[in-house]
């Protein structure tokens, strides 16, 4: 097993998250500019189950413009043994409560807060009755990236990642209640004034199946919409509680091979008529090789199941498709003279366009 965290480490990680992962909030209602967006994303995984939860809050710039009005979305996707369920539900501005400077979001009956060093995540989808109530304990320090420059037409993006947490609680889906105990989890938080005009990404994270393996992986690649220009790319490795090595930019080569044959699950359901039946953006095999400073690692991601979230644009009638691909990842190589290897469950996001 990975070493148990000592109390000072637990406190240090909690303090680090509280100081960096807080809700930024829009200043539109206080005279600031509109267009702010922010989301908190969680992925929880145990054998036979992957759970994706996203709390999204954005300035509602639909006509008529009302400064300060926001739009919330709660996305919950559940993959049980290869079968998907879940949905996205919109939350009206008057049912959104945020605490700027703290980690607290309430979107209708769904809520996220950080208290006593732990995330408490509760989500309820009214229409499907899907419900979850989880406590997530961070096991590693976060990594924060600020003001990442994108295309000239896009404002910078900021993010924070915590690639290893332990989640316990309950999930109610299809009338059945499933208990989770110390399931591995991942969390990220993104915010800024970026849009989908000229911005796309490939993003993934993985942990070993072996709980004794100390490594955690995060891959990020930010591109223009056509995915022909790369604004930044990096492979981040944690060893134990600490971020241990970052290989970036020209140190990385990325290769997409073939096309994933999985039949995708789409939310919201009505958006099925705006997207094709296949997921051309998700490869059959995705390979990242990172070499630099004497280090050399290769990650091979094999997507198996795909759900896609169709996101309507604010700026036109187009849509961006976020493909959430679940699969297996193998990592091999060496870092700082030490062998790195694991095989485990991974989730990658590949962006595309709908009608």
């Amino acid at each position: 097993m990975t070493p148990l965290l000592r109390l000072p480490q637990v406190r240090a990680i909690a303090s680090s998250i509280a100081r960096t992962d807080y809700v930024r909030r829009s200043m539109w209602g206080l005279g600031g500019r509109p267009g702010h967006r922010e989301w908190f994303h969680f992925c929880i995984s145990e054998p036979g189950l992957t759970l994706l939860v996203n709390f999204n809050v954005a300035d509602d710039v639909r006509a008529p413009l009302t400064p300060g009005r926001q739009m919330g979305r709660v996305v919950v996707l559940v993959n049980e043994g290869g079968s998907w369920s879940g949905d996205v539900e919109e939350v009206a501005s008057e049912r959104i409560r945020l605490a700027g400077g703290r980690i607290f979001l309430e979107l209708a009956e769904s809520r996220l807060e950080f208290d006593d060093g732990r995330f408490r995540l509760r989500a309820l989808l009214q229409r499907t009755g899907l419900e979850l109530d989880l406590v997530l304990e961070p096991a590693v320090f976060p990594s924060l990236a600020s003001n990442i420059t994108l295309a000239a037409s896009e404002a910078p993006i900021n993010w924070l990642v915590v690639p290893r947490l332990k989640a316990s609680g309950t999930l109610k889906v299809g009338g059945r209640v499933r208990a989770l105990s110390n399931a591995w989890a991942y969390h990220d938080h993104n915010w800024g004034f970026f849009s989908h005009r000229d911005f796309a990404w490939q993003w993934g994270h993985a942990l070993s199946d072996d709980p004794a393996n100390p490594w955690a992986l995060v891959f990020t690649r930010l591109t223009n919409r056509a995915q022909s220009d790369v604004f930044m790319q990096a492979l981040l490795l944690w060893r134990g509680q600490q971020q241990y090595r970052v290989l970036r930019e020209a140190e990385l080569t990325v290769e997409s091979i073939g096309r994933c044959a999985a039949k995708p699950y789409t939310v919201p359901s009505v958006a099925n008529l705006l997207v094709s039946g296949s997921v051309t953006e998700v490869p059959e095999l995705f390979v990242v090789r990172a070499r630099g400073g004497g280090d050399d690692v290769t990650a091979r991601f094999d997507p198996q199941d795909v759900a896609r979230i169709v996101v309507p644009h604010d700026h036109d009638l187009g849509t961006t498709v976020i493909n959430e691909a679940i699969g297996r990842l193998t990592l091999k190589g060496h870092v700082r003279g030490e062998s790195v290897a694991f095989e485990g469950r991974a989730v990658f996001e590949f962006l595309g366009s709908g009608a």
């Binding site: 639909r62 359901s269 009505v270 958006a271 099925n272 008529l273 705006l274 009638l317 849509t319």
Partner: protein, 140 residues
């Protein structure tokens, strides 16, 4: 007794016109002055779009495009449980018209969906369609 499909369709047009006017304008421009005959279950409707909103009537009249389907198929299509091409091939969705007219109706329908995914009221409209589908299933 389920609500008339004409009422549900009128509300759906009004929803898009109100909550996503850009999509409604694009629907209107794509459809132009064309009229669509839409048969859902036992109801036969004539559908056209004006700047004032969607016009759904039960009057007799000529249409450039004819569409026939069921509440169940419509609901399955909108929920992603069925594929348009498969429904056309198995005759659960019947469409007839000249190619250019069909393309215009298809474009207008796509803009309707683009509007629907942006409307907060869409889930309620889908629930109403689902109730109609259940009712028509039960009364068969």
């Amino acid at each position: 007794m389920s609500e008339p499909f004409a009422l549900l369709l009128s509300d759906a047009f009004a929803c898009v016109a109100r909550e996503c006017p850009a999509a409604y304008r694009a629907m209107r421009e794509s459809l132009g002055e064309r009229c669509v005959e839409l048969c859902v279950g036992d109801e036969r409707l004539l559908v056209s779009l004006s700047d004032a909103g969607g016009e759904v009537s039960t009057s007799n009249g000529e249409a450039e495009v004819r569409v026939r389907t069921s509440d169940r198929t419509l609901h399955a299509l909108l929920c992603g449980h069925a594929d348009v091409l498969e429904c056309l091939l198995d005759d659960t969705l019947f469409v007839r018209g000249d190619a250019n007219e069909l393309l215009a109706v298809a474009d207008s329908t796509t803009f309707f969906i683009k509007g629907a995914v942006r409307c907060a009221s869409t889930p309620n409209l889908l629930e109403r369609l689902e109730r109609r589908a259940h009712y028509s299933e039960g009364s068969r």
